[in-house]
């Protein structure tokens, strides 16, 4: 019962199986934060802001040898079709932790002992793959804050719809599809820092999806680099 793909393997929004949704990125959008970024990833609209490195409160959370990273992923009440309760849900708490773990390996935490770095990811409008969009935006905001980083973190998901492996599922594909595999990588260091799987893959499909997600992450990385270059060097292209 094929419904997400037409006979030519085109998706409901006209994309090919290995095609990303339209993506826009802008760095440095919030004056009051140390660093910020705005991303549109399909219908996702995500704002990320970074404060710090700054003083740690409460003091007992302080680490003498490194910074601590505090990350909050939050969906605004108007981000979904039905009004979302603004109180953090279990899902948001989980994603906050996932995003924090995806970002931390990229940050040189030991360069900022006795400090806290706060990352706020605000989903203004949600679509499928908001955690990957959130990680990507947060990483840009950290870079914008000038925090020493070993690499950027770039996120993108792959999945399975109507039995076929596809890149970057939107909300309908995510709900009606067979599997979703969100991923984030450190593209230069060739490390995976986020990998989750919701659904079923055969071993062969899993490998295929993993490679496809990585390809998507690398495309996202290119766009992140361009967005940073645009902010700091205007038209001088990398």
């Amino acid at each position: 019962m094929s419904k997400l793909l037409n006979s030519k393997n085109r998706r409901l929004d006209g994309r090919k199986l290995d095609e990303l949704r339209p993506i826009k990125m802008k760095v440095g959008v919030i004056d009051n934060a140390n660093g910020s970024a705005y991303i549109e990833f399909g219908r996702n609209k995500v704002m990320a802001a970074v404060y710090g490195p700054k003083d740690v409160h409460p003091k007992h959370m302080m680490k003498t040898e490194s910074a601590i990273l505090k990350c909050r992923y939050h969906m605004t009440p108007f981000s979904t079709g039905r009004r979302k309760n603004p109180a953090p849900s279990r899902r948001e708490t989980e994603i906050s932790k996932i995003i924090s773990e995806a970002l931390e390996p990229a940050i040189v935490m030991t360069d900022y002992p006795r400090t806290a770095i706060h990352v706020y990811v605000e989903i203004l409008q949600s679509d499928g793959g908001s955690r990957c969009a959130g990680v990507t935006a947060a990483s840009l905001a950290l870079a914008d804050a000038g925090i020493n980083m070993r690499d950027l973190t770039s996120g993108c998901a792959a999945g399975k719809i109507d039995g076929k492996v596809a890149l970057d599922l939107d909300e309908v594909e995510d709900m009606e599809g067979d599997a979703d595999l969100p991923m984030a990588i450190l593209p230069n260091l060739e490390k995976v820092t986020l990998l989750q799987l919701d659904g079923d893959f055969s071993h062969k499909e899993f490998i295929e999806a993993l490679k496809l997600a990585k390809k998507g992450c690398l495309k996202v990385y290119e766009m992140q680099r361009n967005a940073l270059n645009d902010k700091y060097f205007g038209n001088e292209k990398a």
């Binding site: 140390n34 710090g52 490195p53 700054k54 003083d55 302080m62 003498t64 990229a106 040189v108 900022y112 002992p113 006795r114 400090t115 870079a143 914008d144 804050a145 000038g146 925090i147 020493n148 980083m149 070993r150 690499d151 950027l152 450190l186 593209p187 230069n188 260091l189 060739e190 995976v192 490998i207 993993l210 490679k211 990585k214 690398l218 992140q224 680099r225 940073l228 270059n229 700091y232 060097f233 001088e236 990398a238």
Partner: protein, 197 residues
Amino acid sequence: MVLFGETKLPEITKKVIATPGEKVAVIEEFNSGEGTYLQESNVRSLHVGEIRKNLSERSINIKHPDSKNILPQLGDIITGVVETAQTKIANICIESINGKLSKAGFTGMLQLISNQSSGRGRVKRGATCRSGDIVRALVFSIANSTIHLSIDRPDLGVLKATCSMCGGDFVRLDDRLKCVDCGFIEERRLSSEYGNK
């Protein structure tokens, strides 16, 4: 399974700007300088910035366009506001580091009865500083997770204070301060630049 074997990221040879993680050189060509780090034999960028090659030191540096993450380091000169002043210590909220504004809200600790060159007896006689004073100090230690400050130098100390009785402005009388409104005389450990703006 090899996930990254065939990864092709753009080769950087004649680039002038870098983003975090980008390979800017190999160690055989250049040493890892400021704004870079060494990963195996690759010199990589730590932040967004311009690539600067120092040929005499054979090092590569990445200059950030506007570096704003400044943590108080040993030897830095800070300016801050005295939050609380007790008999032995004062807590200072750091507002600027080496002349650069800092919004991070770090707190430094100033030991009030220290071995200051002006002599113990004299320091003990009056207050070194009071809450609300603006102070310039030197970071002399960051041991035990605390930013220890010192004002043991003529240009360091209180830069600006107001009368603790009425809040009025002071005029300086050598090393003491007299309120222009109520005439109250107070003592502070004044910087040689007290009142200069």
